[in-house]
Symmetry: C2
Subunit: 449 residues, 2 copies
């Protein structure tokens, strides 16, 4: 039995069914209207780069059913009885409940967006962007109300991606962020580069700015009140982040970590509960660099989780090896990436470290196509082990973070990284790839200290 | 004393001088007109993407001299007396020779282009593209003679890059290659994709075609004769490859490997000769995957070599860790990359292996920006260790080879690679990065076999 029909849940259901075939009955319960869709694609759909919601759907309910999965849409699990191996299901449309027994349970309830408890937050014109229905609502509002000003609350991944979408739609955009700089998954100095670049694009970025309330007239949002000032807003998008959706699991007495995510082992079994599995945005994930568990909501992890759970449920053996903290994004032509630990995270994990920041170009500097990029790198004192990297730059910058992600995975030192044999040709890289330049600088600093 | 003033030689000279300062007298001897330039940039200069030859020069002779290097241009070393620690220098312009003593010697004589010994090869209108002077000559010919047809001899890196340059200049281009498919650094099946894509761009690609002779009239090339047929050519570019320029070293009794490159140790000391160093396109390089030495002419290696040699000459300790065989290139909008071993190389190195090829897209498939790419991956039987990878695809494909290069460096298995935490967001990758898809497929095939 699978609870939750998005990436982790339906990947698990599909793989389990594919591997076990008729030996395994698979029931999947989804409380919403959609399954197996790319929530990460919503900002690009809103921005007009994706034709329709259908394009974001990896597999329809009908397709899952054809593959032998008993998928029940608009069926919400309201309680889990772990000892009795039974759940209570609410058939939302019929408003009736029924019990359902399971041998193996997969909890894939995902995350819920953080919604600030502020006056006016329920006004018309204020949107989240978590589900396809949310995306639909924003697109309809853009068409119907022809707004000219947008305020995005939150300067993280969803915030900057929605800022880009609104810029593409021709709106005048303000991003309001309570932190010192946007993109707090980066260090402040790198976040400052993002801030500056967004301003250069014409986006008004208000940092250290907490929203006090929403200005509302006739039930519709008119503006966002920040530090006593009202910023005009025909439309408001909330992009403050998400938290693991684990109320159901908590009520059932399943173990949650300090982040609020479900505690799982390397096979993604819920700790202490044989035959109960969990993956995706509702679990804690092991960070291989900090050696600590935390909450990381990312579609790529959810998909990997699903495959691991599916294999295990079908009687196989598969493990999820953890993450190194890689994330990548863009706002218009600015690309942003990070992996490993940022300074505060490295300190919290007990590392002593040095950091360097270098400027480079995406291609050989003499080509017209060359674009500027900045690479920051953290390396441990004495050992010189890479601890983290951050990239902010123009087109062709961000995906280079993958080199650092693989280096972190293998616990490479920055000195060894400086010798890596990376692809070089003038249209792809300077003769010293920017990552190598940063590694060289970090190695020099480690050996000096 | 440094013999040869390009990437390896001048990097070595610069670093040695920087580290040792006044304690070290550095003399650099260059027989040509230029030092420290990017030969790899020549096709882009010819194609009009670089403004001038000056842009390709990293540092001028004057700049080197200001840094305290006694750089002598148009001075050619004609003999090395290893026992006497002395070379013979020919001052080319004065046509006079003189002896010069050294304590430490750096041989950085680079490579020479292979020039086919065929009738007519010395005719006007036939060009190599090894030096800045060569590039200048091609550009002058394009301006002066306004050619409309070009034949490129050789379908390797230089060949396809020059094909792109000629396409950019509006010429009708034919590439003549004696092999079954162009890009023999790839497996045949991947080379076939390159062949097809080049034809779709309007480039006439003649494979299995050996040039018999050049058709010449009044001293000027008129065409290239292949299998009895004359392909019209107003201009011909030779891109057949290079061989290590080691006649001088060989005459001095220094050890050459089977590829003709100088044999060096991990510090880039010439084997068996203390105080004699060598790097760049004239040495053999250790391949970490095949565990064999061979000739790899690449500017990025030459630059790394120079730094290692410079540190060692200055009394420090530095090593060159070898390569994994990464190379990257493009022809118009087609990107091409490889790392590790291709099938024939894996077999020659004694590996038993399996291979997979997958199709994917550069971004989430639902974005308009998504471009097709093909990834081929080789993995060792039983161990599942990655042995090599090849990528052919459109914009945004090729640099992903770096993930495989770092994985090879660390001797990762394809199964472990499939769990890597690579950057995911819709504009940068499908939810499963193409490299992960290939690794997953390879891992499945390894476990079946």
């Amino acid at each position: 039995m699978v609870v939750g029909g998005d990436a982790a849940g339906m990947s698990a259901a599909s793989r389990a069914k594919r591997e076990a075939g008729d030996d395994l009955e698979v029931v999947a319960l989804e409380r919403g209207h959609h399954v197996s869709y790319s929530a990460c694609g919503i900002p690009y759909w809103v921005g007009g780069e994706v034709d329709s919601a259908d394009a974001l759907v990896v597999r329809t309910p009908e397709e899952h059913r054809k593959r032998g999965i008993d998928l029940r849409m608009r069926h919400e699990v309201t309680a889990i009885d772990v000892d009795a191996r039974r759940v209570t299901v609410n058939d939302v449309e019929r408003a009736s409940s029924y019990p359902l027994d399971f041998d193996e349970l997969v909890i894939a309830t995902g995350a819920v967006p953080v919604r600030p408890d502020l006056p006016g937050v329920d006004a018309e014109g204020i949107f989240g962007v978590q589900t396809l229905d949310d995306g639909d609502a924003v697109i309809e509002a853009l068409l119907r109300d022809r707004p000219s000003t947008a305020v995005i609350v939150g300067g993280g991944y969803i915030g900057i991606e929605m800022a880009e979408a609104m810029v593409r739609k021709g709106l005048s955009v303000t991003v309001v962020d309570r932190d010192d700089e946007p993109m707090t998954t980066l260090d402040l100095d790198m976040g400052r580069l993002v801030h500056k670049a967004m301003e250069d694009m014409g986006i008004d970025v208000r940092t250290k700015s907490a929203v006090e309330r929403f200005a509302v007239a006739d039930g519709r949002v008119q503006g966002v009140v920040v530090d006593g000032e009202t910023i005009q807003a025909d439309i408001v998008v909330l992009g403050i982040g998400v938290r693991p959706n684990t109320a159901l699991a908590e009520d059932a007495g399943l173990p949650l970590g300090s982040s609020g995510g479900l505690q799982v082992d390397r096979r993604l079994g819920v700790v202490g509960h044989e035959g109960i599995w969990s993956g995706g945005d509702c679990v804690e994930t092991f960070n291989r660099v900090s050696q600590q568990w935390g909450h990381v909501a990312l579609g790529t992890h959810a998909n990997k989780h699903g495959r691991v759970i599916g294999a295990n449920v079908a009687g196989g053996y598969a493990t999820f090896p953890g993450v190194v903290g890689t994330a990548i994004s863009k706002v218009c032509e600015l690309e942003i990436a990070r992996t490993g630990l940022r300074e505060s995270e490295a300190t919290a994990a007990g590392f002593g470290f040095t950091s360097v920041t270098i400027e480079a170009t995406t291609t050989a500097g003499y080509l017209a196509a060359a674009r500027p990029m900045t690479v920051k790198m953290l390396a441990e004192h004495r050992s010189g082990r890479l601890l983290g990297a951050q990239i902010v730059g123009r087109e062709g910058s961000a995906k280079r973070i993958d080199v650092c992600a693989v280096a972190l995975w293998n616990e490479m030192t920055v000195e060894e990284m400086a010798g890596l044999d990376l692809g070089y040709a003038p249209p792809f890289s300077p003769v010293w790839d920017p990552v190598l330049v940063a590694a060289r600088a970090a190695a020099a600093k480690v050996s000096e200290s």
